[in-house]
Amino acid sequence: MSTRIVVDPVTRIEGHLRIEADIENGKIKDAYSSGTMVRLLEEILRGRDPRDAWAYVGRVCGVCTSVHSLTSVRAVEDALDIVIPPNAELVRNIMFCAQYMHDHVVHFYHLHAMDWVDVVNALKADPKKTSELAQSISNWPKSSPGYFSDLQKRIGKFVESGQLGIFSNGYWGHSAYKLPAEVNLIGLAHYLEALEWQKEIVKVHTIFGGKNPHPNYLVGGMACAISTDDVSGLNAERLAYVEQLLKQGKEFIEQVYIPDLMAIASFYKDWGAIGGGLGNYMSYGDLPWNGYRDTSSYKFPAGAILNKDISKVMEVDLRKDDEVQEFIDNSWYEYKGKGGLHPWKGESKIKYTGPKPPFENLDTSKAYSYLKTPRWKGNAMEVGPLSRVLVGYAKGREEFKEVVDKALTDLNVPVTALFSTLGRTAARGLESTLVAQWGIDFFNQLIDNIKKGDTRMADSSKRDPSKWPAKALGVGHAEAPRGALAHWINIEDEKIANYQLVVPTTWNASPRDAKGQVSAYEAALRDTPIADLKQPVEILRTIHSFDPCLACAVHLYDEEGKHISRISVLGD
């Protein structure tokens, strides 16, 4: 006999996620993942100017900010056959790298760490021992006994005040927390340092895009003109600022994030065998070195892996009718026909059939989520850092092999440990080190171009809609921090006729399909041990390892309920 438990809201994520799980004999027998908020952005986009779309869809997510805008301008440029200048590609890449560094560090410390780090236990740490430990794993300068002792006093006073704020009602003291007090104290110190650090790296966006969150993009390139001899353009001062931010970002990742990740992981090696899930991984690839159209130049290669078989990487084609399709068998939508639909041909109408709120439980024998269910050639796929790292590793890319093999050796775990909750969390850190270096490489290439006299930043030759074809289809893709992201656009008579997004968290968090095939979250939760039904910290560990981003699940219908077309947005 199983017991149903509910976690809603799942906190430390973007958006609104609900998990229901059936527990039997101390383990999860089955789990259900439900997205419970919808905004219907696609109906709002219909009829608008395709050049404006990036701003609307940018508002899908403010955590993985910029990635939807990037994907959108790529989709429109694909539809209108625009090739952007190399400098614009480089600026977009540098912003992308800055976004990864920000997003992954914030995820690790502010969204994920409290699943592993017992904040209250940190008060028991010996500051001197903490200092010795910190200095043994990193050269990071803030590591003196006095530093840790001051912090401990500050937190001690905070806890005594009785006003625990964001730490209220945490699962402190739970048997699943395994770190020594000293490691907990280091984790807490770096939680606060990372909170201060994260506001710096985003300034790369502010310089190129004017602000963060939600920097500005532009169809045809970027709006930040290069002008080495004017105070308003990208001049030596602005570029030096970017370089300094990238270097400081890399330093934090190498000296704080990675040592902490490895130290914490070494106490949770059992999680290298928990939370594996599907075993199917997919990446669309990103960070072009030689233009977006040259997919072979991507620093993150594209491909799909099935059944953990890393000897074989398959190609993914976003234009083919029978590859990416979306299903709604367990979603609060309805189709006219049956089966799955490619996003260019998608249709749907929202139809909430869940219980009337307030309710205690969803009826999971029926539709139970605002997320649709995407499939690749009928397969449920996991997307995200682990998928990217595995595809890079499986394709034999040296940079990937180096960081992965070193981590496996340092932790003394087999390669199979990658297929797990721990593997997912580790992969995010490993790719951060790669991206931190690539950001600097892209920056150097930008400087090189400017030195050679190329200052072009935008191609305006097709900004005038009279130069567009009457009808055009486009697809843009990106590897968002949370995984493979694509937008499909249909332009008719200078306007958006249809705009659709299939986003990483839709792949990972969607409900099961008609065949009963579960998606990544539900697969990963199965068999997870739960020590205390009232404090299911283990569920949070695995769900957070995906870094959920449930900004919205959006579908299109008109006021009469007549189908027009649809998009599905969920997460980044």
């Binding site: 509910v6 508002r59 009602n169 602000k211 390139g221």
Partner: protein, 375 residues
């Protein structure tokens, strides 16, 4: 530690002393804080009083139809930094983005604050509330956002509407607003609501609003639309460093052209600075690094009501020839945006008339200060 058995929350002064600062340091801090808030010297005493006696301000921060850009912007604040806000100034008892607890424990944390600090806590809302289909388009813990808002607002001392979603509905309320996304002031009766619009608002502005409430125990002064005057009383256009190019009739004609490289005015490529009230031109973004116009893209008016439906992003707005720096949102009101041919010439005339006065005033000021220097 001073006294480990004290059960009550420490005051700001105690926090200061614990950190090794003297009372003199504390007074200096309060003076700075008052200066930061743009207050007269006489207000300093008030700041000292407020910060010496109060436990941390309890805050409940709800998320509805949103993208979390407001929470992200808040943690970007450089002064004060958010770690200090969280540890020393407020007690953020419920925040789906940052709190450790999930599920029942999270709901319980919110309930505890609502009971224990009834009438004292600040309710912050990020996101709009969908009222269509009985509210099922946004549900948390099995309840609709409508119900959660109602419950949480009841015992709140004041409500802060973060960002354009909570202030005016933002992107999901753009036509045809399929979920009936509703800004919160339309759903709350008898509660003061501070609107802090923008997509997102500037981080330092958000922290500034919180600091104001913490320090004075009262709301900042608001304009006719419910926005803090300190940050929303000037148009981006009137505080823009590219304004002289507008006045001189020098414009970027298309992105990345020669004029763009010279940093000319972006009005012709769609800048909505002339109709947007925000602090971007002064406070700027991310600790003053830049703002959209400085980085070559026009302002698209993200802090204005219904900005998604106020014309296309790259469409030229009307020139607003008759309005100058002295206008505020209260007096100008909502002027419809649209393409006006010939408005530029009219503007030039108006500007010259007004500028003469301005220049005369400045000259006088300059002479006076010169005189002072000589004396």
């Amino acid at each position: 530690m001073d006294n480990p058995n004290v059960p009550t929350a420490p005051t700001y002064l105690e926090e200061f002393k614990r950190k090794g600062y003297s009372r003199a340091d504390f007074l200096k801090f309060c003076t700075l804080m008052a200066a930061y808030l743009g207050l007269e010297n006489s207000s300093t005493a008030q700041v000292v009083q407020a910060m010496s006696t109060k436990p941390r301000l309890p805050v409940i921060w709800l998320h509805f139809q949103e993208c979390t850009c407001c929470s992200e912007s808040f943690i970007r604040s450089s002064h004060p930094i958010v770690a200090d806000v969280l540890l020393d100034q407020i007690s953020l008892d419920y925040s789906e983005t940052l709190m450790a607890a999930s599920g029942h424990q999270a709901e319980e944390a919110m309930k505890n604050t609502m009971t224990k600090y009834k009438g004292e806590y600040i309710l912050c809302v990020e996101g709009s509330v969908p009222t269509a289909a009985d509210g099922v388009y946004c549900m948390i813990g099995g309840k609709t956002s409508m119900q959660i808002l109602e419950e949480a607002a009841e015992g709140a001392k004041a409500v802060i509407a973060w960002g354009s979603c909570a202030s005016n509905g933002c992107v999901q309320a753009a036509k045809p607003n399929p979920t009936s996304a509703t800004p919160i002031h339309k759903l709350l009766k008898g509660k003061p609501v501070i609107k802090v619009p923008g997509c997102p608002p500037i981080g330092e502005v958000m922290a500034g609003v919180i600091v104001h409430v913490v320090t004075f125990g009262r709301l900042p002064e608001l304009d006719g639309l419910g926005r803090p005057k300190a940050f929303y009383s000037k148009r981006v256009h009137d505080t823009c460093y590219r304004r002289p190019y507008y006045d001189a009739g020098l414009y970027v004609e298309s992105f990345d052209d020669e004029n763009a490289k010279k940093g000319y005015c972006l009005y012709k490529v769609g800048c909505k600075g002339p109709s947007t009230y925000n602090a971007c031109g002064v406070t700027k973004w991310n600790n003053g690094v830049s703002f959209p116009i400085q980085s070559g893209h026009g302002c698209f008016g993200c802090s204005e009501e219904n900005y998604w439906d106020n014309g296309r992003i790259y469409e030229r707005a009307s020139a607003f020839p008759g309005f100058g720096i002295e206008s505020t949102a209260d007096t100008v009101g909502k002027v419809a945006l649209g393409v006006t041919v010939g408005a530029l010439a009219a503007h030039a005339v108006m500007t010259n008339v007004r500028k003469k006065k301005l220049i005369k005033g400045l000259e006088k000021e300059g002479k006076e200060s010169e005189q002072e220097l000589k004396e």
